[in-house]
Amino acid sequence: MTTPLIEARGLVKRYGTTDALRGASLRLLPGEVLAVTGPSGSGKSTLLHCMAGIVRPDEGEVRYGAERLDQAGENRRSTLRRTDFGVVFQFGQLVGELTALDNVALPLLLAGTSRAAAHKSAGTWLERFGVLGQAGLRPGEMSGGQGQRVALARAMVTAPKAVFADEPTGALDSLAGEQVMTALVHAARESGTSVLLVTHDAQIAAYADREATVRDGVVETEDEPAAEVTR
């Protein structure tokens, strides 16, 4: 069996008196696109947050290689989110004052890359997502779909091992959503990046290689991995 890139086991997460997760387990394999689906309130976003090291579970383990993300401190987890993981939410959360180019270059600049090299790389990723023409625009000057493609370029610019996308098309109409998903899946396959895609929309889940369904804080079903994930 393929060694997972990230493995969650028996995650429990409580918010106040609500149990968002009640023993959820999931494996994200290297290079796969995995859709996590379920009704709203099922715990699928909390599962993503735990596996991306955004929050720590109250119980259970999150293994990333030899590391335990559930035990890692905030500094280490935040470094990982800049270097090894990319994150995209429903609303891209781009920096409003910066141009698309500067937004995408930002993670590289934070990691100490020179300005020229960061901009060059950012331009390449904007082009791959079909938004190079918007390089000089600020988020408020772009359409929702363009903004999400810029957010994806920013998530991919550090060549992460995994991208975590939480309802990345949730605020888009279906054609814009289609462009965002096609761009994401093509880019991930080309670079061998794993994608954990949280969505309530089966048509978006159909872009993934397999599906895990979440209900009441547990993973109810998880498709078997394909014998060989084709790239």
Binding site: A202, Q203, A205, A206, Y207, D209, E211, E220, T221, D223
Partner: protein
């Protein structure tokens, strides 16, 4: 949708012989079932009989004879009428095999309806993945994209229905077993 109406639509683009029309159709709707040549031929005869199409020319180019057909005034009017009418909304509830199986599983006790719905979801999503691959391949013609979208949205509607049904299996079981 009758083959006759389809042929009237194809003839509206200009006269053609049977094989031409079949080719036009199959190229335009690559995801649809190809028109059977025999069906095209008999439908053309019927259109001629009803005065909706007529023989345009008979050519032989040294090979076998080929008859070219064209639309008549009446055929054009029939086509116009057909294109102006809405397609009857399909009576899907009558032909819902998924619902029939769920009910029969409950009534017979042969299996678990929730497990069946999970199995059905996996089958639907597998098909949706195939269709998504068809429409996202680089350079896919719009006709293929739109055909795939049509199937995808219908499968998605099934899935939404299945989600609703899955949440109400308890109440359904009471209704089925008390009847």
């Amino acid at each position: 949708m009758s083959t006759g109406n389809v042929l009237l639509g194809l003839l509206a683009a200009g006269p053609g012989h049977g094989y031409d029309l079949k080719r036009r159709h199959d190229e335009r709707f690559p995801e649809a079932r190809p028109l059977a040549y025999g069906q095209v031929y008999t439908s053309l005869q019927r259109l001629v009989r009803d005065g909706l199409a007529e023989v345009d020319a008979t050519e032989s180019d040294g090979g076998p004879e080929r008859t070219t057909y064209r639309l008549t005034e009446r055929g054009s009017l029939t086509l116009r009428t057909w294109l102006g009418e809405p397609v009857p909304p399909a009576p899907v509830s009558a032909a819902n095999e998924i619902f029939a199986k769920v009910t029969a599983i409950i009534a017979s006790g042969f299996g678990d309806p929730a497990a069946f719905l999970r199995l059905q979801r996996a089958a639907h999503l597998a098909r949706m993945r195939e269709l998504t691959a068809v429409k996202t391949v680089a350079g896919a013609p719009l006709s293929a994209v739109l055909s795939a979208d049509y199937a995808l949205t219908h499968l998605d509607a099934d899935l939404r229905w299945m989600d609703n049904a899955a949440q109400r299996l308890g109440a359904l079981a009471e209704e089925v077993t008390s009847a």
